[in-house]
C-alpha cells in the first residue's frame, strides 16, 4: 500500500501514445498531483511528457480526465490525486478548414 503522499493511479493510454508504453493501454503511475504523475510516466516511458505538455501546461488538444471529469474544470495539472484514481488521456478529435 502506498502512502498518502504518493498515490498510485492507473492511466489509460490512447492508441496514438501506446508506442511509448510498449503497446500497453493501461499503465500504473505514482504522484500526488497530475503534474507529478506525468513526470513519473515520462520516467518510465520516455517522451510521453512532451506529447502531453507544452512547456509546463497541458497541450490544448490533449484531454485529461480524472475519474471521468475533464481536469480543465477541476484544477488542471495541479489537481491533487488519491490512491486508485483513474486517469484517461484522449487526444481531441478536432480540425478546421
Amino acid at each position: 500500500m502506498s502512502n498518502s503522499g504518493n498515490p498510485t493511479v492507473e492511466v489509460r493510454i490512447p492508441t496514438i501514445l501506446r508506442p511509448y508504453t510498449g503497446g500497453a493501454k493501461l499503465v500504473s503511475a505514482q504522484g500526488s498531483t497530475l503534474r507529478d504523475v506525468i513526470s513519473d510516466l515520462d520516467g518510465n516511458h520516455t517522451g510521453l511528457a512532451e506529447r502531453l505538455l507544452d512547456g509546463d501546461a497541458l497541450r490544448r488538444f490533449i484531454n485529461l480526465y480524472v475519474n471521468d471529469e475533464d481536469v480543465r474544470f477541476i484544477g488542471g495539472l495541479d489537481l491533487a490525486l488519491k490512491d486508485g484514481d483513474s486517469i484517461t488521456i484522449l487526444p481531441a478529435v478536432a480540425g478546421g478548414c
Binding site: 492508441t15 484531454n63 480526465y65 471521468d68 481531441a92 478529435v93 478536432a94 480540425g95 478546421g96 478548414c97
Partner: protein, 137 residues
Amino acid sequence: MVLHISAKHVSEIWDEAEAAHPDEACGVIAGAIGTDSPTRHIPMVNAAHSPTFYEFESGDLLRLYREFDDRDEEPVVIYHSHTSTEAHPSRTDIAYASEPGAHYVLVSTREEIASRSEFRSFRIIDGVVTEEEVVIT
C-alpha cells in the same frame, strides 16, 4: 487503400453537413476492432459551432471512447465538413489527426460547387496525407 462505406452512411453524412452548414458538421462511424468496416454511425456535436473549426466536446469524447471500449470498437471513419473550402484535409486537420487507423472523410458544402459532389477519404499517418478510393456499397 480504400474506404468501403454504405450509401446509407454517405447520405446521412450529407444530411448532417447540409443541416449544419454554414457550421462544420462532424462525427464518426465505429466498427469492430481490426475489421476496417464502418458499421455504427455516431453524429457528434461540433462544440466549436464554427464555420471554420470542429471539435468533439470533451465529455462527449470520453463517453464515445468508453463505448468503444465496452463494445470492442474503434473509430473506422472520422468525418467532418468544410463549408467554404475543398474537401481535403487542412493543415489543422493534419496537425490534430490522432487516429492513425481511421479513414478521414471530408465533404464540402461550399456553395460554388454542385451539392453532394465532393465526398473524399484520406489516411493521415504521421502527418502524411494519402487520398484513397471511396467504394460505396
